[in-house]
């Protein structure tokens, strides 16, 4: 009975078990939630700051270098703001999927578009977090912030438009929560 093998095998089992629990949590977390539960899980993000950074990227005008990277970071709410956007992303997709009860086709398409936006959002967030862990701020940092802001902004706009078109009664509550 070899101790090194016990350590390696035990470590593998524990790592596999932890990965299993993490992934199961992700699968079941939002699936069975009702609309009100999903809404309560949303955390507000500073909309005006988000809009300024996002539109600077996707709707440029003159003086495109007006917003400095430090300003972007502050407008997006720093690490807390980014954390909220990451958490809200999956909830917003779940809310879009929820709208399939009223308009299956549009909700499915919008949810898929938002899922694609969320992939770009999470990739950019991962790169920011990775660089922060290594205590470095590469030249691409403001580009990542632009990607985060524009992806989240697009998700938010798509979701609000979906509810505006298909369930106007819930739209004000959703807009307030976001």
């Amino acid at each position: 009975m070899s101790l090194p093998y016990l350590i390696v095998a035990g470590g593998t089992v524990l790592a596999t078990g932890a990965t299993l629990l993490w992934s199961m949590k992700g699968v079941t977390q939002l699936r069975d939630k009702e609309w009100d539960d999903l809404l309560q899980m949303l955390q507000p993000v500073h909309f005006r700051g988000l809009e300024l950074v996002a539109l600077d990227h996707i709707d440029p005008h003159g003086h495109q270098l007006q917003i400095e990277p430090g300003d972007m970071w502050a407008l997006l709410g720093g690490p807390e703001g980014l954390r909220r956007m990451k958490q809200n992303a999956d909830i917003m997709i779940a809310l879009a999927a929820y709208a399939s009860r009223w308009n299956m086709v549009e909700a499915a398409i919008v949810a898929e578009r938002m899922r694609q936006d969320a992939i770009m959002l999470k990739r950019a967030l991962f790169r920011i977090k990775f660089d922060a862990t290594l205590h470095r701020r590469p030249i691409r940092f403001p580009f990542y912030l632009h990607q985060v802001a524009s992806s989240y902004y697009l998700m938010l706009r798509r979701l609000l438009c979906l509810y505006e078109a298909n369930h106007a009664g819930l739209h004000p509550r959703l807009a307030a929560a976001l």
Binding site: P4, A9, G10, T12, W22, R31
Partner: protein, 262 residues
């Protein structure tokens, strides 16, 4: 008679319970027409039910039993991998096409799983009465470790890419990964402790996990899924939309990449 064949009452009870559970689940899959959605899973369950009967009657003849058992294990391993691929296709192809990025991520995760399974099997050296038995233990460890890890890779990929689950698929995947993980733990203990007095007791743990999973699936597949009937025209529309979305996203990504590099 059964006890005279060297089987304990626990072995007999587990054998009967196992066959009953496999047969009941197979009947549910066929009767409720779930086999159309999960053909490989239904095939595996039907094969396991049949294998139970064949091995029971072959038990008196050790040589015949040995052949039947090992051929059955090989077929079962292939079917298990096929079931994992079946689950992956259901989750990663919401509109009949692979979700962008999900396939390559999952294949990469499967590659890592294969390397990890080969590595752990290679360094295992279980205590066993014969060389063959040692390789039996190592082979079982490899098979279940690979199955377990690529099943978990499906869940991880789905979470990473925000892919939705339908009820029957999630039920199958949850039961499958829990069963695979418990069996993986059992085989890891086997690979460390070898063929000792604890071997059979640990085997019972694996058999019980199997029975619980079968019961869970009977419950899941008995129920109806919420109706999400899509007409052929709408399905065609959704597939075309997804193709256009994929093209649109690729254009945006390549445009932003070229802006960054210039």
């Amino acid at each position: 008679m059964l006890l005279a064949m060297g089987l304990t009452w626990k072995d007999v009870a587990l054998w009967i319970a196992g066959f009953s559970a496999f047969a009941a689940l197979f009947a549910v899959l066929i009767g409720k027409k779930r086999a159309r959605q999960f053909p490989f899973f239904a095939t595996l369950i039907g094969f396991d039910a049949l294998q139970n009967i064949v091995l029971f009657f072959a038990f008196k003849d050790q040589s015949l039993y040995s052949y039947a058992f090992w051929i059955g294990q090989a077929i079962e391993f292939v079917l298990q991998i096929a079931v994992v691929v079946e689950i992956a296709r259901q989750v990663f192809r919401p509109f009949g096409r692979w979700a962008s990025g999900a396939r390559s991520f999952w294949v990469a995760a499967c590659g890592i799983s294969l390397v990890a399974a080969l590595g752990l099997t290679f360094i295992a050296s279980p205590h066993a009465p014969t060389y063959t038995w040692a390789w039996v233990i190592k082979g079982k460890l490899f098979a279940i470790m690979l199955t377990c890890m690529i099943s978990i890779a499906v869940l991880v990929t789905a979470r990473q890419y925000g892919l939705a689950w339908r009820n029957h698929v999630i039920g199958l995947a949850q039961g499958w990964t829990m069963w695979a993980f418990i069996t993986f733990v059992v085989e890891t203990f086997h690979s460390y402790l070898g063929y000792t007095t604890l071997y059979q007791r640990l085997q019972y743990v694996g058999d019980l996990a199997n029975l619980v999973a079968l019961g869970f699936w009977i419950f899941i597949f008995w129920q109806e899924e919420p109706s999400r009937v899509v007409s052929p025209e709408r399905h065609k529309f959704l597939v075309e939309q997804q193709r256009q979305l994929g093209y649109y996203v690729d254009k945006l990504v390549s445009r932003s990449d070229s802006r960054r590099s210039s």
